[in-house]
């Protein structure tokens, strides 16, 4: 499914956080959202996922204005993965992934074979099948993040929004999660901090600064020494890497 945003504006009281953002994501594309702290990445992601209402502008998913789609209907094909969501409740891995079926079930409907298959498949895709009955509280940060992604997958979405899904993870799990998201057959928008990972796994990158789009394009087009200096205030060399079109950034120690 495609995602289209037109002139999105959003703010808290007088402070403008997202200012006149328009973008489009093609079906199956993986779009990276990068920018310094406070540039509006998380807010934009929530506007796109329909978790916040824009002050003006609109978001269309698969050609439909999401403001006109019921919350439940929307979450049958749009999933959102928060950064490090936590709970005190004593739930198991399976309980958490089962929550992903919520939008597909009515208030009292039983657990169907389709639900079971979706949960089993989702657990398998993140490699947590053997942890199915383990208590959530005993998982490491990386495992929790993978379970959250499994829950999003159990929603059977066609569009997935991820807010810094690789935070707190070691490099192995960062790469593993991004590779998994890229290889999924769905449209995804990922807010990321690590510019090299963004370059490696995103088809296109949007650079946000002060709530506005500063640049948008392939990693090669966007990640230039000049942009890194202007937006992130660092000096860096950008090398061509073994993968065509996927530059590698080396930061100068200065």
């Amino acid at each position: 499914m495609s995602v289209l945003a037109e002139n999105l504006r959003w703010g808290v009281r007088r402070k403008i956080i997202v200012s006149d953002v328009s973008l489009s994501v093609a079906p199956g594309e993986t779009l990276g959202l990068i920018g310094p702290n406070g540039s509006g990445k998380s807010s934009l992601l929530r506007l796109l996922a329909g978790l916040r209402r824009p002050a003006s502008g609109r978001v269309e998913i698969n050609g439909q204005d999401i403001a006109r789609v019921a919350r439940k209907a929307l979450s049958r094909h749009v999933a959102f993965v928060q950064q490090s969501a936590a709970t005190d409740t004593n739930v198991s891995v399976e309980d958490v992934v089962r929550l992903g079926r919520t939008p597909h079930r009515s208030a009292l409907a039983g657990w169907s074979e389709g639900d079971e298959a979706a949960v089993t498949d989702a657990l398998q895709r993140v490699g947590m099948t053997s942890r199915r009955t383990q208590a959530w509280q005993t998982l490491s940060g990386g495992e929790r993040q993978r379970v959250h992604i499994a829950r999003a997958l159990a929603q059977a979405p066609q569009v997935m929004f991820l807010d810094e899904p690789t935070n707190h993870l070691d490099i192995h799990h960062q790469i593993e999660i991004l590779r998994m998201v890229r290889d999924l057959d769905l449209t995804s928008v990922i807010a990321l901090h690590d510019l090299n990972l963004a370059a490696m796994y995103c088809d296109r990158i949007v650079v946000l600064q002060d709530g506005q789009i500063h640049a948008c394009g392939t990693p090669e087009e966007v990640l230039t020494p000049q942009l890194l200096k202007d937006v992130f205030r660092v000096s860096a060399h950008v090398d061509a890497s073994a993968d065509a079109g996927r530059p590698h950034i080396r930061f100068s120690a200065g």
């Binding site: 919350r71 959102f80 709970t87 004593n90 399976e94 992903g100 919520t102 009292l108 929603q155």
Partner: protein, 345 residues
């Protein structure tokens, strides 16, 4: 935790609930048999079937009257009140994502006591009916204030809890002010006794009202149980799972306020049940609400009936306030669960 039970199928849950129901019936029968003078269980049974017109057994009229008019109605109201408070506790712990949430966290009991004090001390209205009405009005005034302070309960758990704290403080202060400036020692004692809770004055009409309210609340909550599960990781997460967060919160807060206010206005502010029973039930059936809510309600009912029996026999010649008993019986029981459920280091 006993994974076998929390992961068991619907059949296992049904069996568990059925067994609890049998225990509840037995507890109610015992509560009806035990008292200042004990009545045999067969007499209890025949009295009930006589009153229902099923049998015509020859039973002393005085015993039949004690069973039907005094003890049975009292035991059934205790069961409903326990079920209602435990249900409210389970709902609020989920919505506020706080293990310490209980039915009175939204200021309902403080408001009810202010309303009751207005009746007892200031003499607004007269008679027991207006005491209940005063408590009910006070309870809803407090809930209204909390809803107002937390923007219709939409501004997040901690904000709502703080609004509840503010409302509780305000209404408790009002209660103290009225008692100290206008009350005498006897009235202060009456108020205190009322606040600790008592099943002394309840009769059949109370039962019918409470039954309707409890069944209504239970039905609404069961219908929203799936949505409550989605709150496990917070409001925004629930929204991303397709739950209309603001609507669910407001409806469930209103239902719990209605239920709590009804119970408090009938039997006073009985503490501890609403806090502890959901935790105990969660320990047995797991955290998912389609299982937790009925299990909490049944456990709360059994717990309250047993506590009422204890309150009547623990001290000779007098009844200990039920709120004292629920804590005395509940704390050791809860301590065991806390100890066994402690995080494994």
């Amino acid at each position: 935790m006993p994974a076998s039970l929390s992961k068991g199928g619907a059949a296992r849950l049904a069996l568990l609930l059925f067994l609890s129901l049998i225990v509840l019936v037995f507890a109610v029968a015992s509560a009806t048999a035990i008292g200042d003078y004990n009545i045999a269980l067969t007499t209890v049974f025949l009295s009930v079937t006589n009153e229902l017109g099923l049998t015509g057994a020859d039973i002393p009229p005085i015993e039949q009257s004690v069973v039907w008019n005094l003890r049975l109605s009292r035991a059934l109201i205790a069961a409903l009140a326990g079920a209602g408070l435990a249900l409210c506790g389970a709902i609020l712990q989920a919505l506020l994502r706080n293990a310490l949430a209980e039915p009175f966290v939204l200021g309902v009991s403080a408001g009810a006591s202010t309303g009751a004090v207005c009746v007892i001390v200031l003499g607004i209205g007269a008679g027991s009916l207006s005491l209940s009405l005063g408590a009910f009005a006070g309870a809803f005034a407090a809930f209204g204030l909390v809803a107002l302070l937390s923007n219709g309960a939409t501004s997040g758990p901690n904000h709502t809890i703080l609004a509840g704290v503010a409302a509780s403080q305000l209404f408790n202060a009002l209660t103290s002010y009225i008692v100290t400036t206008s009350g005498n020692a006897q009235q202060a004692r009456d108020v205190m006794f009322w606040l600790l809770g008592s099943f002394g004055g309840v009769r059949w009409p109370d039962f019918q009202l409470l039954l309707v309210v409890v069944l209504f609340a239970l039905a609404v909550c069961i219908l929203m149980a799936r949505s409550l599960d989605a709150f496990t990781f917070g409001d925004e997460d629930a929204a991303s799972l397709g739950v209309p967060v603001a609507r669910i919160r407001l409806v469930l807060f209103a239902v719990t306020a209605l239920l709590t206010a009804t119970i408090v206005s009938m039997v006073g502010a009985i503490g501890f049940v609403g806090l502890v029973v959901p935790h105990a039930a969660r320990y047995v059936v797991g955290p998912m609400h389609l299982r937790l809510l009925p299990a909490s309600a049944l456990t709360g009912a059994i717990f309250m009936v047993v506590a009422d029996i204890v309150s009547r026999i623990i001290a000779t010649q007098q009844t200990v306030p039920i709120g004292v008993v629920t804590a005395l019986v509940g704390v050791p029981f809860f301590a065991i669960i806390l100890y066994r459920a402690r995080p494994q280091a």
